[in-house]
């Protein structure tokens, strides 16, 4: 019998942990459990982030944790086959499909496919016990320094997630699709922890899809750490498509070594409260990071993208492009930071944030920050908030295109600047299609998601 309790306030999470310490430690190796206490202490001191936390200035998470929800410290076997009830309708993606349920690696994954020799793709807890030499070297090495309470909560309480390891000189052609499903009879807080390690001169692409399978209240606190060895290429694409009442707090930490390339794109199509923390550290020379994102929000959705890129060594390049299209009462937040460390000369870092407000009541908050401690650098940032360009609209209408269609064309072109950079062609085409339908007001979410599974 699994003991589950109802908890309300964030502080009580700490009590929950202390009361069930054995259960949280159960099955995890010492290095995972050892990190829990320090993180819990930091979480306890900071509490659930509110507006008084400068990093959460525009996103108050306290109300989010006011609802009743349960936390499940053990894997629960599902009575139904998730492969049957969830079918991603991107069939051409032709990828490895890995399911995770409420933050746990699904026990009956059967569409993983064949990987080249040496690749490890498994549950994190499993890998931590089976391959401690790899996991211990990287586990909590990049997230530990974070002051973010949500990151610390994850380190303190998460037990499982995806572990993905690509050995030196291995290229995985097909993208790996990871589907994070929230599906429970109860309102649930899920804590998922992932670790990706790419060996030297390797290549892989991971597509994260966040879904909810019913209308319960879900909080997903999903943290990924990623270590990219020299000369490797890693693509991380996140497609967030949860129902309007769900909360998605996703953190992504990347450590990018010499000559390595990181390409990430976060597309938020739907969700209730979404917070994306992306922290990239360029620690080897000539490393490059592309960090892009697109948000389409309506109703009362709240989407916060919090980006931080550290240029720790000379000769690295990075580029950020984030766009928001906000309708109804939605709120968009962008906080992007470029930090060029002392002596990180010849850095080139660019940041761009463009936002369109479609309704009288939508709001946008943007905070594009530069912290530059070296002089021989090229850095720039730009941010705009506006409406659809009337001149462009006139141009199209003068050519016989109806107003509605013209507006759609302009908005789509605006969004496509982000989508066109996605390096997985089938995913890009699929997202372009989804975004277009979303903009047209046809309910865009993947067909097998929430809206078709309401029963």
């Amino acid at each position: 019998m699994i003991e589950t309790k109802q908890y309300t306030a964030g502080e009580e999470l700490v009590n929950l942990f202390t009361a069930n310490r054995e259960m949280y430690n159960e099955g995890c190796p010492v290095f995972m459990n050892g990190a829990r206490e320090a993180a819990l202490e930091k979480f306890y001191k900071a509490g659930i982030p509110s507006k008084s936390n400068e990093d959460y200035k525009y996103t108050d998470l306290r109300p989010v944790f006011q609802n009743d929800f349960e936390v499940v410290p053990r894997y629960v076997e599902q009575s139904v086959d998730l492969h049957e009830i969830f079918k991603c309708d991107v069939p051409q993606l032709n990828s490895h499909i890995i399911l995770l349920i409420n933050g746990w690696y699904y026990g009956r994954n059967r569409r993983v496919g064949e990987f080249p020799e040496g690749v490890i793709c498994s549950s994190l807890q499993h890998a931590a016990n089976e391959h401690p030499e790899i996991v211990e070297k990287h586990y909590n090495k990049y997230a530990a320094a974070s002051a973010d309470p949500m990151v610390n909560l994850n380190t303190a309480m998460a037990k499982d997630g995806l572990f993905f390891y690509v050995p030196d000189n291995v290229t995985i052609e097909a993208p790996v699709q990871v589907i994070n499903i929230m599906y429970s009879k109860e309102n649930t807080l899920a804590l998922q922890r992932n670790l990706f390690v790419l060996g030297k001169n390797s290549e892989a692409r991971i597509v994260f899809c966040d879904h909810t399978l019913n209308e319960n209240y879900y909080i997903l606190n999903n943290l990924s750490e990623c270590h990219i060895e020299p000369d490797s290429r890693f693509g991380f694409f996140s497609v967030q498509n949860q129902h309007n009442g769900a909360v998605n707090i996703t953190s992504f930490f990347a450590n990018v070594e010499k000559n390595a390339l990181l390409d990430t794109n976060t597309v938020t199509l739907n969700g209730g409260v979404v917070r994306n923390n992306i922290k990239v550290q360029l620690v080897g020379e000539h490393a490059h990071a592309n960090v892009n994102g697109l948000t389409l929000a309506d109703e009362k959705q709240h989407v916060d993208n919090f980006i931080s890129i550290d240029h720790a060594v000379p000769n690295c390049t990075s580029s950020q492009l984030f766009k928001n299209i906000l309708d109804d009462h939605s709120k968009g937040v962008f906080s992007g930071q470029i930090h060029v460390f002392r002596d990180a000369q010849k850095t080139e870092a660019f940041q761009q944030n463009n936002n369109v407000l479609l309704s009288e009541t939508a709001e946008m908050f943007t905070k594009p920050r530069l912290i530059i401690d070296a002089d021989d650098v090229r850095c720039s940032h730009g941010a705009t908030v506006g409406r659809i360009d009337e001149d462009a609209l006139f141009y199209l209408r003068a050519r016989g295109i109806g107003e509605k269609e013209a507006r759609l064309m302009i908005m789509f072109a605006f969004a496509d600047q982000v989508l066109s950079q996605i390096a997985v062609p089938v995913l890009r085409e699929r997202l372009e299609d989804l975004v277009e339908r979303r903009l047209r007001g046809e309910l865009g979410p993947c067909q097998h998601c929430t809206l078709n599974n309401k029963k």
């Binding site: 400068e54 939508a362 946008m364 912290i371 530059i372 002089d375 650098v377 730009g382 506006g386």
Partner: protein, 481 residues
């Protein structure tokens, strides 16, 4: 009798109640801050009850606040109890001729091109009673009085124009606005009050007068400028001459109220002591400046040249309340050696068709840190708001930092907001080009920096623009090579 003399006499005569006069310098209040100190300050200044209430309210607010720590600054803890909150302005030692003045100071004066008589005044040399500046001052006063312009010290204003002060004080910066503003509201020493009546265009830059007056401004200064309907005034605070002051902490407040169609142009040149090359000493400059464009079609324009102070924490802001009102902010902030600056502006769009423009030029040299921090906020009913912000940073040397923290909050879809920022350094090509033409590297850097800052310097009143250019070059001395 000058302002300072009056205050000094008043204070000393109170202390020595038996008609005993003395010219001994006295710090009247012991170090430390409590409610009694606030009461004593108010009593010393013979303030009415409402003024005391204002101070006490601010003091009680201040007690509940914590010193803000969000700025990108490293400030050692400040012991607010080790500061004396009321001291009659000390008389500077009177020197008999310029020969006795620190030659370094004289050299700086010469580089800035400050006229000889003014040099004497600024350096504290005893000056003849009939020198030009004094007579000029009197003439100015007459001209201003003719037009009904009120321009006097804050203490005088409280006594002579209590209705006006009462009506406008705390409008733009309420007593509990922020930590430093609350501290200032509780203990402010003195400052200036300026009222421009309806339809009057102030015939001169209030700068010139103020500059002569400004040699002895206090530690907690308070300025209130009210421009009534259809009026115009240009005001210059500060001085290009180096300001050596013993007080380490400066927390000033400036409030501007612009009524219908009024325009206020406020320019600052700040050149407080920045500390020595090792970062020892220097002034902490924590200033709250805010203007309200209350009337329709009103305009407030801030221009600042910040070259001094060890730590600068300053965000001159505009609240664009009236429809079609207009806010502007032009800034050059230069940091060298161990200086730190976190400065920028806030533009709060509330009225319809409001516009704002932000041009910020940061220059960092040595091991200094220079941050731009600005907020552009568009409220729900601010239809057709328009903002353009540009923040450029220039880095000189590989040990300094230039940072940008813009905040944009938009709640109206008709708004068009743009923000641009770039970071660059002086290219070797540019310096080489100048060298080839016989211009020394140091002069070349000065030229390039001035070209970079020209957009802002052009906004300064003419005479100060010239001095400010030289000031930039002087502040950068020793940072090249």
């Amino acid at each position: 009798m000058t302002e300072q003399d009056k205050i000094l006499e008043k204070a000393t005569s109170e202390d020595y109640k038996f008609g005993f006069t003395s010219d001994i310098e006295t710090d009247i209040i012991d170090k430390g801050l409590n409610e009694d100190v606030v009461r004593i300050i108010s009593a010393k200044k013979e303030e009415p009850e409402w003024m005391l209430e204002f101070r006490l309210k601010a003091y009680r607010n201040w007690l509940k606040m914590e010193m803000p720590n969000w700025a990108y600054l490293k400030i050692p803890p400040i012991d607010y109890q080790s500061i004396s909150y009321y001291a009659a302005p000390k008389k500077k030692p009177q020197l008999s001729s310029l020969d006795e003045v620190d030659p370094e100071l004289i050299e700086t004066f010469n580089k800035l091109g400050i006229p000889l008589e003014e040099q004497k005044h600024l350096a504290g040399v005893a000056v003849d009673a009939v020198i030009d500046s004094v007579s000029v001052k009197t003439t100015f006063k007459e001209t201003l009085a003719e037009r009904g312009i009120i321009f006097c010290s804050f203490s005088d204003a409280v006594k002579e124009y209590p209705d006006l002060v009462k009506k406008y004080l705390g409008n733009a910066v309420p007593a509990g606005d922020n930590y430093f503003a609350a501290l200032n509201s509780a203990v402010f020493s003195d400052g200036s009050f300026c009222y421009i009546p309806k339809g009057v265009r102030c015939p001169m830059e209030l700068s010139t007068y103020f500059r002569i007056n400004s040699a002895n401004t206090g530690q907690f200064e308070r300025t209130l400028i009210v421009a009534d309907d259809d009026s115009y005034v240009s005001y210059l605070e500060g001085c290009t001459a180096p300001m050596r002051d013993e007080n380490q902490l400066h927390a000033a407040v400036v409030e501007i109220i612009a009524m219908e169609r009024a325009e206020v142009k406020y320019s600052t040149v700040q050149n407080w002591y920045p500390g020595n090359k090792e970062g020892k000493g220097g002034i902490y400059n924590f200033v709250t400046k805010r203007g309200i464009c209350r009337g329709d079609h009103s305009k407030i324009s801030w221009t600042q040249v910040e070259t001094g102070s060890a730590v600068t924490w300053k965000y001159p802001s505009c609240v664009l309340l009236g429809d079609n009102s207009h806010g502007e902010f032009f800034s050059v902030a230069l940091t060298n050696n161990h200086q730190q600056a976190d400065t920028g502006t806030k533009m709060i769009h509330i009225g319809k068709n409001t516009r704002s423009l932000i041009v910020s030029k940061g220059i960092s040299a040595g091991v200094s840190n220079n941050s731009y921090r600005g907020l552009v906020k568009v409220s729900k009913r601010a239809e057709n708001a328009r903002n353009f912000s540009q923040c450029d940073s220039l880095l000189m040397g590989d040990k300094c930092g230039a940072h940008t923290f813009p905040y944009i909050e938009c709640a109206n879809k008709t708004a068009i907001l743009e923000h641009e920022a770039t970071t660059s350094k002086i290219s070797e090509d540019q310096v080489f080009y100048c060298n080839q033409r016989g211009i020394k590297t140091e002069d070349a850097i000065g030229m390039i920096v001035n070209g970079y800052a020209k957009e802002v310097l052009n906004k300064l009143p003419m005479e100060f623009a010239v001095e400010a250019q030289k000031l930039l070059a002087i502040s950068l001395e020793g940072s090249v090579g």
